[in-house]
């Protein structure tokens, strides 16, 4: 789109708008970006479209780069990661991938089956846990999720595990009582260990549109989200909503999910992400 020889004129601005909106960057963020670009183009008296590309990239990087902060284990054991998000985004699978990454490094990983609600959720995590070489803590279906989380933290601490990943049931951020349940689990963890959870990881689905921003805001308000995993980027969706999320919430962008296998987990890298937005 922004190739050499192409002139900067009205049609180009519309094409750029289309590109950004179709990448789910959103109306407001797109308008802001294009305003900055138009102003710069005017100031520097730019003529060629190719001059716009580094400007546009640079502007998006200004927003995303500060949020580039890979997930790291804490010094004290275990690092506790509380995984949350709406229904079907990829929480359970993402936990499997993170577990696999760390067991592959020789770390001892535990997972907590705190989704005690959805049919076969515990079975699903059990299989993944086995494949990833992690230990699983579970209660029976229908048990109190906070009790599962509590038991798991107790066990992980007592037995010196490096990492504890807590799976939760998917829930829409609009359901107050379900959000309260998450807050309760967080409090229960804190009661047992002041610093727990070290990470509240929100999993977002790259195929979602503007609602992902609402999800991020709501989960953040309820739980203080400390990390984001954007998954299903192996599809055709671009996940441009991260620009608005980074801009408005400044939450660290940890992981990208790029497939359904244990290896399909990447660290968020701002440059690569911006390149992919325009590919």
């Amino acid at each position: 789109l922004l190739r050499p020889g192409k002139a900067i004129e009205e049609g180009l601005w519309e094409e750029l708008e289309e590109l950004l909106i179709e990448a789910d960057v959103g109306v407001a963020a797109t308008q802001r970006l294009l305003e900055v670009l138009k102003e710069e183009a005017r100031r520097r008296d730019l003529k060629g479209a190719e001059d716009l590309y580094p400007l546009l990239k640079g502007e998006i990087l200004r927003t995303l780069k500060p949020c580039e902060a890979p997930f790291r284990l804490q010094k004290e054991r275990p690092t506790v990661v509380f995984v949350v998000g709406v229904n079907g985004v990829g929480k359970t699978t993402t936990i499997a991938k993170i577990a696999h990454r760390y067991t592959s490094q020789g770390r001892r990983v535990m997972v907590a089956a705190a989704d005690t609600f959805r049919a076969a959720a515990i079975d699903q995590l059990q299989i993944w846990s086995q494949r990833a070489g992690a230990q699983m803590v579970r209660h029976r279906e229908g048990a109190d999720p906070s009790a599962v989380a509590y038991d798991a933290l107790q066990a992980a601490s007592a037995r010196g595990y490096d990492l504890l990943l807590i799976d939760t049931a998917g829930r829409l951020h609009t359901k107050g009582d379900l959000m309260e349940e998450l807050k309760k689990t967080k409090r229960v963890l804190k009661k047992l260990k002041e610093e727990a959870p070290h990470e509240v990881l929100l999993v977002l689905d790259a195929t979602n549109g503007q609602n992902a921003l609402v999800q991020a805001k709501t989960f953040h308000q309820a739980l203080e989200v400390t990390g984001i995993a954007l998954v299903k980027l192996d599809g055709t969706a671009k996940g441009g909503i991260l620009v608005a999320i980074a801009e408005e919430l400044k939450i660290p962008l940890r992981f990208l999910g790029v497939g359904e296998g244990l290896e399909d987990l990447e660290d968020f890298e701002a440059e690569a992400f911006v390149e992919a937005l325009f590919s």
Binding site: E22, T207, G235
Partner: protein, 292 residues
């Protein structure tokens, strides 16, 4: 809200009379923003607004409405018309052992919707048979079987390592043997760009000749909705769509995008996690929601 935005545009209009092109154009700018914020696809918005403009310009403003309200009414009516209006959205369940096949992206709600559909049909005197045809996702079979037992609907049990096409074939034979109808076939989530898995769906369709091939799509889907819908429609041929997770606060513009690009009716709405949370799709309520 959109109505306030548009009232501002038409405040300068003295009296009633006809909607002028310049006023309509200005009003549609506000509508455009609303539709894009609602996740309606960029190109779909462009086409839609063109059609609305043609209808609106020169229209007589009704005595009971302000010009802004008139434009909103035209937009809303056009949205409803486009998304199926009062269209026939029944399920085609003709034939001896009809099959309803559910397809879609990962995590869109297919397995849950399969069970919801079974409960819906059971309540209407049918004897549905649930069939889990997802050999990839851990505990996918167990998930459908658990849901089936919750609602007292029989569920096929695939043999260890059984190929998907074999599952569908054997399940249909079993349904026929037990006089169960319809067969509700749950498939694995997949990407529309995964050629091998899309080919699997084609073979599955050839094997069981479903009366219904329904795309189960998440109401929160953004601009990507058109690529996904087109991908499944072109590879497989769809008879309809089920939009899930409408109990959230997503504006649901994906509904318009999907209908606009594949022209197949949205038959049902998933409105919750419980198995009774399935309703016929109402274009009028989603139109209001999209406009915000």
């Amino acid at each position: 809200a959109l109505s306030e935005r548009l009232e501002g545009v038409f405040r300068k209009l003295r009296g009633k009379g006809k909607l002028r092109e310049t006023d309509v154009r200005e009003a549609l700018k506000g509508v455009r923003l609303a539709l894009l914020e609602a996740d309606v696809n960029y190109k779909v918005v462009k086409e839609f607004l063109k059609a609305v403009e043609e209808r609106a310009v020169g229209e007589e403003v009704m005595r009971s409405l302000t010009p802004a309200q008139q434009v909103i009414k035209i937009v809303r009516d056009e949205l409803i018309r486009l998304m199926g209006g009062e269209d026939h959205r029944e399920l085609d369940l003709k034939g001896p052992t009809p099959v309803v096949m559910l397809v879609g992206l990962q995590g869109s709600g297919k397995t849950t919707t399969a069970a919801k559909l079974a409960l819906w049909l059971k309540g209407r005197g049918k004897k549905p048979y649930l069939v889990p045809a997802d050999p990839y996702r851990p505990a996918a079979g167990e998930q459908l079987q658990r849901l089936a037992s919750q609602i007292g609907v029989p569920c096929y049990l695939p043999k260890e390592g059984e190929a998907v096409v074999e599952t569908a074939r054997r399940a249909r034979e079993e349904a026929s043997r037990q006089s169960l109808s319809p067969v509700i076939l749950d498939t694995a989530g997949r990407l529309h760009i995964d050629e091998a898995l899309m080919e699997e769906l084609v073979r599955l369709k050839e094997e069981v000749g479903p009366r219904e091939v329904l795309l189960v799509a998440d109401a929160m889907t953004g601009q990507d909705a058109v690529k996904v819908a087109r991908g499944f429609e072109e590879a497989l041929g769809l008879t309809g769509v089920i939009l899930t997770k409408l109990d959230g606060d997503a504006r649901g513009g994906a509904a318009l995008s999907i209908k606009a690009v594949i022209g197949k009716p949205i038959k049902f709405a998933g409105v919750g996690e419980r198995l009774d949370a399935l309703e016929p799709f109402h274009p009028s309520s989603i139109a209001s929601r999209i406009l915000g």
